[in-house]
Amino acid sequence: MGVRITYADSVYDLEDGESVLDGLLRHNLDIPYSCKSGTCQSCLMQAVSGDIPAAAQIDLKPGYKKQNLFLACQCTPEQDMDVQLPGTAIDVPAVIHSMEMLNHNVVRLVLMPQDEFTCEPGQYISLINGKGVTRSYSIANDPGKEDHIDLHIRFIKNGKMSLWLENQATRGDMLTLRGPAGNCFYTSDDGYDYPIVLAGTGTGLAPLYGILNRALECGHKGRIYLYHGALQAEDLYYIDELQALSEQHDLFDYVPCVLNGQDNNFYKAGNIEDIVMKALPKNKAQTRLFLCGAPDMVNSLKKKAFLSGLASKHIYADAFLPSKT
């Protein structure tokens, strides 16, 4: 009896020595792939159950491994596996527990999932309200530990979800969560000693706040720097929380950056990209960089940091794209 692969509710036999990719393709399934040599990562799949052979995860980011992602073209399993394409959606109902303004236009939305929900702080979910409006938001806390989900939502003028939250949503309303997804989260697979740079604009702070707290809880030993970029000082939030954390932890530095401002005791004035690049840790080859928020900042800083010597696999980015609907 050969190895069997479960995919999309059907079971497929593999021939001896056949990869998961080749087997599924032989059964005429539409699985994305390109190089078939374990380098391009087009054929990334996710194991729901079953052991993943080590060869199928060589050089994947630790975050990918943690989500049981593997390269289907390099995966010749010894035992049966249940697999899916990555990020296959799981819907969980959730109820609004509370809403609290964090500054003049960012609300902290606290949701209680009504079913089991696990994720890594820093991943994101799609939130679907009763009117069918769907938007993606990053998770700012550790729902596995705290039994609720914290989202930071910036009110956008005439935004559909914004208008609904501002004018209609109340405690007890039911929403649907889809996900989680994303690779922007803390892992300690490579030890606890490396420097971490977290840089985000606006509500890009949400995933970074989750990652920061996770790293501190895990007993991270390397330096951690958090740069929060804002247009005006009034756009910053969680200032007290972050200052308190930096006082409690010698290894953590909080650096608010305000584009339209003057340097002072509290924040640095200027473009967050310039401020981050000027202060990158000396140990560039080991530094992990997490970037979240405005797409222009994320993409530009990603490139600048890479060119300055950071390893591509150590840069985790999550660009917040505006909704088109």
Partner: protein, 121 residues
């Protein structure tokens, strides 16, 4: 006698070389404009597939793939000079990694062998 790909170090060599190579390409004004900077991860995956091929490793590229994949770049002006620059940076990357000249020449000649497909000629 081991193959070129084995001598260079196989997939590990590709993974080590890709950052050095891609950094050289992105940092070179003569070619950096061919890289759309919104999808660095996707581009790195493509560079890895290219390096695997150039290192003599397993690959499934056909002339048709290479033609299709570079068509939009040829329309933007991709020409022999740019292919020369790619091969120059490929050599520079391998030199940094301590690869002997004879192997670098072999890699360059593999890369050169797809020149006409890449340039859609």
């Amino acid at each position: 006698m081991s193959s070129l790909y084995e001598r260079l170090g196989g997939a590990n060599a590709v993974n080590t070389a890709v950052d050095i190579f891609y950094r050289k390409m992105l940092g070179d004004d003569r070619v950096s404009h061919f890289f759309d900077n919104t999808d660095m991860d996707g581009q790195i995956a493509k560079q890895k597939a290219f390096l695997t091929m150039a290192f003599g490793g397993p690959n499934n590229y056909t002339g048709k793939d290479l033609r299709e994949g570079h068509k939009h770049l040829v329309e933007k002006g991709l020409n022999d000079t740019h292919v020369d620059i790619v091969i120059e940076h490929l050599g520079g990357t391998l030199k940094e990694l301590g690869v002997p000249d004879a192997d670098i020449t072999e890699v360059a000649s593999i890369a050169n062998s797809v020149r006409d497909d890449v340039l859609n000629r």
